[in-house]
């Protein structure tokens, strides 16, 4: 049976996040040929609808309201339920982002349905789709299926390939009017700490530092390398506990789980808890003075040496490659 799928698009600073396109690809897999309907919320998102269509959505519905400028679970919950009631889909796909993690359980609870969160791969299609997700922070994986009724999944950024963009695709972008009321949380302030807006969990390149970084100033060369590669800076628990950096950068079994294309571990010994958070990265580079460090066991390429010597040299070498 084909399924109509509702996909929540997520905008960040005026542009759709890549995970929204990945979510459309996931929706396509579970739809069994059914219609893919994108949904977008905000104070001005109409223009983003076409982007979703070019990436594979058949049509898009938007809800625009001043109260949707900032995400709140109440505001987005009301907007999503209005879209749900209008469309009555058989499946829903969210990104497993901060927003998706916060909103999806609320919607699942309202609809008294299951929710398979943090999906990294899908096996099979349509009704036969089985969802693969990491458990124990990636120390193991499980295959989960929906028993019956509405299917609801959230997908981890950076794991499911988006469909090729097709500029010739067209579709209807229509808005629905929803009265967004009774917001119980009021957002007073947002302080941006992320490096250049590249989110750690979505970054294609992560440069992470451990105790070997020795101080908060020691992160400077790592930040420079991350910037050069368009990536984000992360850290081990050791570096966070020693106050070299903020806990929001922590990667590991507690902290964030990342799966970038390139993970550069600098001065990180590779405790089992840290490895749980990064060992599924596609390519891992380890730089450590200790040749016995555990991190070399999962690294594709290792350099035994001082990160303060190696990283500046890497920056110079990469600049040469980039200028060619």
């Amino acid at each position: 049976m084909s399924k109509k799928v509702l996909v929540l698009g997520e905008a960040r600073e005026g542009a759709l996040r890549n995970v929204s396109f990945e979510a459309i690809a996931a929706a396509k897999t579970v739809s069994g040929g059914g219609e893919i309907v994108g949904v977008l919320f905000g104070d001005a998102v109409q223009s983003l609808g076409e982007e979703m269509i070019k990436h594979g959505a058949d049509r898009v519905i938007t809800v625009e309201h001043p109260h949707l400028k900032h995400y709140t679970s109440d505001g987005y919950g009301q907007a999503f339920m209005a879209a749900y009631e209008q469309e009555k889909p058989e499946a829903i796909v969210f990104g497993h982002t901060a927003l998706g993690k916060d909103l999806s359980p609320k919607i699942a609870s309202k609809l008294a349905t299951g929710l398979v969160s943090d999906v990294t791969a899908i096996e099979g299609e349509g009704d036969d789709a089985v969802f693969i997700r990491p458990i124990y922070s990636g120390k193991a994986f499980e295959k989960v299926k929906n028993k019956e009724g509405l299917l609801f999944i959230s997908i981890r950024p950076n794991n499911i390939a988006p469909l090729d963009k097709d500029d010739s695709r067209t579709g209807d972008v229509s808005s629905i009017s929803v009265d967004i009321t009774n917001l119980r949380s009021v957002i007073k302030d947002v302080v941006r700490k992320s490096t250049d807006g590249v989110d750690l969990s979505e970054a294609k390149v992560v440069v992470a530092g451990g105790r070997g970084v020795k101080s908060s100033d020691g992160f400077a060369p790592l930040e420079e390398l991350a910037k050069l590669l368009g990536g984000a800076v992360g850290a081990s628990r050791g570096a966070c506990d020693a106050d070299y950096c903020d806990y929001s950068l922590q990667i590991g079994q507690t902290g964030k789980v990342v799966t970038p294309d390139l993970y550069i571990a600098a001065g990180i010994s590779g405790a089992i808890q840290h490895m749980a958070g990064m060992s599924n990265s596609k390519v891992i580079v380890a730089i450590n003075k200790d040749p016995e460090a555990n991190i070399f066991k999962v690294a594709d390429y290792g350099i035994v040496g001082d990160l303060f010597e190696v990283i500046p040299m890497m920056i110079e070498e990469i600049k040469k490659v980039q200028s060619n």
Binding site: P105, K143, N146
Partner: protein, 257 residues
């Protein structure tokens, strides 16, 4: 103030995971309170100490989860509740867990409910917000700071590295992010006192729930280990030569530059 902390017994983070017959091997493993739930318990105790009231820790599990509840009592919680589903349920998912907890909490008039933002085993982070929705109260996830003044609440939450300042009010459910506080270790007198603190054990029957009411909506059909990575290459030569080789490999072999 009437405060509840939701906790889960999980594998110690130090444990290696092994799979046998499609299941995680639990024999001989060390179990702990889910680390994010420890932040929730610590915050609950601090809120009680500042505002008065009582902290009740609640878990779903088998007999063995009593150990983690005693630890929470030793930290300073006042009462514990074990909802024992061992005899009734073979499988449950987040839908089931939330329904059971919400059924327990629905007539408790909780002012504040705290939970970890995610459990390090299943890792779905669903149960807290689901419980709040079932109870019809507001929730805020991944919090790193909590200030309560009467019924007004000011929160800082972590949003993918950014900090959001939120104003809301009680009753409220919050989920703890790392950095919220520094969970205390149970003291020896605390451990002694914990032995005498009330620990109530309930079953689904006591909550007027039938097995069908909480039947899982999703099903795990297989658990398996990730493929082992082949050992990588540690480069050789002097450092400048290694760096040159590394960048060349990243560019031409791994194609990630």
């Amino acid at each position: 103030m009437n405060i509840y902390a939701l906790v889960k017994r999980t594998f110690d983070t130090e444990e290696r995971i092994t799979v046998s017959n499609g299941k995680i091997v639990e024999d001989g493993a060390e179990f702990i309170i889910n680390p994010y739930d420890e932040y929730a318990i610590e915050e609950a105790i601090q809120v009680r100490d500042a505002n008065g009231g009582e902290v009740t820790v609640v878990t779903i599990g088998g007999e063995e989860a009593e150990k983690q509840l005693r630890t929470a009592l030793a930290m300073g919680a006042d009462k514990a509740v074990l909802i024992n589903t061992e005899d009734d349920l073979d499988e449950m998912d987040e839908f089931s867990a939330a329904k059971i907890i919400a059924e327990y909490l629905k007539d408790k008039e909780a002012d504040l409910i705290l939970a970890g933002n995610v459990a390090i085993d299943g890792g779905s982070g669903q149960v807290g917000p689901r419980v709040a929705e079932l109870l019809g109260i507001n929730y805020v996830t991944t919090i790193t700071n909590l200030e309560i003044d009467g019924t007004s609440v000011k929160i800082i939450r972590d949003v993918e590295g950014d900090s959001e300042t939120i104003e809301t009010s009680l009753p409220l459910l919050v989920t703890a992010q790392q950095g919220l506080n520094e969970p205390r270790y149970p003291s020896l007198p605390g451990i002694m006192k914990a032995k005498k603190k009330p620990l109530e054990e309930l079953e689904l029957d006591d909550l007027d729930l039938e097995e069908d009411d909480v039947e899982a909506k999703t099903e795990t059909i297989e658990i398996y280990m990730p493929p082992q990575k082949a050992a990588g290459r540690v480069l050789e030569g002097d450092i400048p030569a290694q760096v040159k080789e590394l960048v060349d490999l990243l560019n031409k072999e791994a194609k990630v530059l």
